[in-house]
Amino acid sequence: MTHTSQRRGLDPHRPGEEVIVLAMIAREYQGLDGIQKAMNELAAKMLEHGRDHWPKWTVDRLERAATGQPPSPLVAVFTETRRVENLFEDLKKKWLPRNREKGYPISLVITALFDDTRGLCQKEGFKEHTYLHSLGPFGKRAPQLPSGDELSLITMCGHGLIAKNRVRKLVESIRKGEVTPAQAAEDIARPCECGIGNKKRAQELFARLAKKFQSGP
């Protein structure tokens, strides 16, 4: 779940554009008394630091996680590094020390530009433990993959459920003035069960694609 590792279109020249924070309890520890409540608290803290810049469905999903049985993993997409710094500052006050004291091994994972993650770890006093590097696609049909901005939109769903033709139809609809880039971004991100759609980045990608194909693909 939450296949965030093959996301395309992040550029070291645009740092901080997307920082995904994921929390997960290893299978063997999921039954620990009190650990699910700690995940509820984390969802509430994510909301505290991101509520005002997230679309409604992200807020709704995290509100459910804060009050009901939280999913493992619990995921939130931030589009400002400052907010992640604030979240980590907050977690360091009571949440992390309490987890240590109670023996709640809740893992935290960042998916972002490696430079962004490095900066966050240095600033917040964390040390990288395990890396996952993506080498990209191979295979006979790799040259047939959509390129550039289309692939960036499609790979926002790590489960591969955003269809190429859906992206193209939405671009066409933007060109015709039937929908806005914001509506198109919402359309592809809303069904994302994992909650890893980035509406802000998708909106920019749709606007760019619509402009690019203004005079026909």
């Binding site: 395309r8 893992s107 994972v109 996952l132 295979g139 006979k140 049909r141 790799a142 489960h159 033709n165």
Partner: protein, 288 residues
Amino acid sequence: MSGPGDRISRRRFLDKTAKTGLVVYSLGAWSPISAVHGARSSPAAAKGPFRYIDKSKCVGCGSCVPLCPMEAITLANEKSSIDPNECAECGTCWRAKVCPVDAITPVQLEWPRLMREMFSNPLVVKKSTGVIGRGTEETKTNDATNRYKRGQIGVIVEPGRPVLGARFHDVEKILKKFRSRGYEVVSQNPVADLIADQKTGALNPEILDEKIISCVIELIVPDTSAHDVMTAVRELSGEVESVFSVSIALRANEQGKSRFEELFGRVYQLPNGKVNIGVAADVAKGGA
């Protein structure tokens, strides 16, 4: 646990599946997959019942056509239809609720077509991983589990990803390639359950034509094997009919830096990726 040369039988797989309590998350509630019924007989190309569009209901609006990640839905003579050979049974068309007349009809899938849904619908839970989706815990909990230890590399190969999907023929090519080089697939992984011959990595022949959006093959190898792994990947690139993605998991060094370039040299990698920041390492019993 299967020994070398063991072949998984259809019965054994179905027993395993039954034990998983295979469920699908839909419409905000957990419900047994058997709750969705209604099948029709299939043409020779596709085995068993499959998801279809009820032509007596379809009004030809075409709303479902662009939704299909596998481009299996087409509109002709003002009626939409699903090509059962190309459909991966991911359920996207049905879950999107775009059909104004409810013509998209899910069915109770049977072996071996059931494999399509298991590896394409991310809401299916697999017992072997205990998580929704196709993946494993991989790096995500490595600070608590020590799955990838120092001196080891996790190799994660995903046939079908991105965009194009793959058939189990391609999955088997990848399994056989790594097995022939002496590497074993990690257990507690949905693909590991499908291996019929542990010695060669061969899958049950009954599933080879089935199409899936993607699956995860995971290996843990010594870090001295980095170049051998890349040789296998490059060879496979000219052999796998569809696409596959490769990710490399590895422990940070003492300074928290990645050893990727030290081990793999100038192999291309994306500028972004996952990093476990280690907060559970000194909390979990098995952490390190």
